[in-house]
């Protein structure tokens, strides 16, 4: 028989709860309060009901930003996951070079996000940046401040540079956990390289890959700093992702009501994804344990 769940232990987290109340719950409640009111500053509020939610749901601007956001997350996942697996498969399995690769791969993960943005902002500049200048010298018209495609390529490549390591490291950990016996059995059966990958390595990596995909999806869905530093959401609105648009609305235009309604919907999506993430992870743990 399974053990019953003892929920009393939750009382031990009360101190954390108090801290979270001040840092997250109370501000979030305030956002909910803002979302149903209108203000002209001076801390004076007027009841607006569900107007802002209606406005936001009908707003082309929000749907466009959501579309760009999903496109961004889709593109980086489609590149980073296969590339990460490919890198992990080709990393040395032991010895000096294995440690060397691991350290090298971790480096981009340690750089603060605004620094990553600044690096790529300068790297891509045509006048002083290595990448921009080289492309210009090769006769390729590349200008991420004016050309939509160039701007997108820059932020996608930047994200791939920054985060592929994470997928690779996770996939590498998954690969390392496969017992040698599996490979020996495959050798006896004369399995091809592809079949070894398809029937041994991929199923064994599934758990960590799931974590990698969910982590990368959630992170890219909330991305703000890097694209903001590189393109500032431009040219026009071409790289204005959800969080950039939200900050523009809340702090740039000081439209607290619509921005609050927008935040709540954004929060709900993130909450949903986090819940899926948590559920998948705990269920994987149970299956393995």
């Amino acid at each position: 028989m399974e053990k019953t769940v003892n929920q009393k232990a939750w009382f031990l987290v009360l101190p954390v709860l108090l801290l979270v109340a001040f840092s997250a719950v109370i501000p979030l409640m305030t956002v909910v309060n803002y979302s149903v009111q209108d203000t002209f500053g001076n801390n004076q509020f007027f009841w607006a009901g569900l107007e802002w939610f209606e406005e936001m749901l009908a707003s082309e601007r929000m749907w466009d930003a959501l579309g760009r956001q999903l496109m961004f997350s889709g593109i980086i996942l489609a590149i980073e996951v296969p590339l990460g697996i490919f890198v992990a498969l080709n990393m040395p399995k032991s010895g000096f070079w294995s440690s060397f690769c691991l350290v090298l791969m971790s480096l981009p993960l340690l750089i603060p996000w605004n620094v990553v943005g600044t690096i790529w902002q300068i790297f891509g500049r045509v006048d002083i940046g290595l990448l921009g200048h080289t492309l210009d010298a090769l006769g390729i018209n590349y200008n991420y401040t004016q050309d939509t495609v160039a701007a997108w390529i820059t932020i996608v490549v930047m994200d791939v540079w920054h985060w592929t390591s994470l997928v690779a490291l996770l996939a590498y950990a998954g690969l390392k956990s496969i017992p040698e016996a599996y490979y020996q059995a495959a050798k006896i059966d004369q399995a091809s390289r592809w079949k070894v990958f398809r029937y041994i390595e991929l199923p064994k990596m599934m758990g960590v890959l799931m974590i990698a995909v969910l982590l990368r999806f959630m992170d890219s869905f909330m991305i703000y700093t890097e694209p903001f530093v590189v393109t500032g959401g431009g040219p026009g609105n071409a790289t204005t992702l959800l969080s950039i648009d939200l900050v523009k609305m809340a702090l740039g235009q000081f439209d607290l009501g619509p921005a609050a309604a927008f935040s709540i919907m954004y929060f709900l999506v993130i909450l949903l994804i986090s819940w899926v993430f948590y559920t998948v992870m705990t269920n994987l743990d149970k299956r393995e344990g």
Partner: protein, 90 residues
Amino acid sequence: MDWMAWTWPTAIFFIVIASLLITFTILAIKFPETPRTGILRIETTRGDRLFITLLGSAFINLAWLGLVGANQPFALVICLIYAAAVFRWV
């Protein structure tokens, strides 16, 4: 509390959620339970089902507001049916 810009409807909203959480906490202490596996094929306790209900209800309300746009209270009726379904089958 002035800076939080409270209104009665939002206060009631949070009071309902808070009392739901308190009720479920008391229930969990008074009547311990074994988690069960429902149609989502994940183990859930009453608290998990409450979370799924609340999160789902938020999306149902938004969908109603975006697609129908009028008679918002009817969305709550759908939420109640959804809640019953979650507690019965998930």
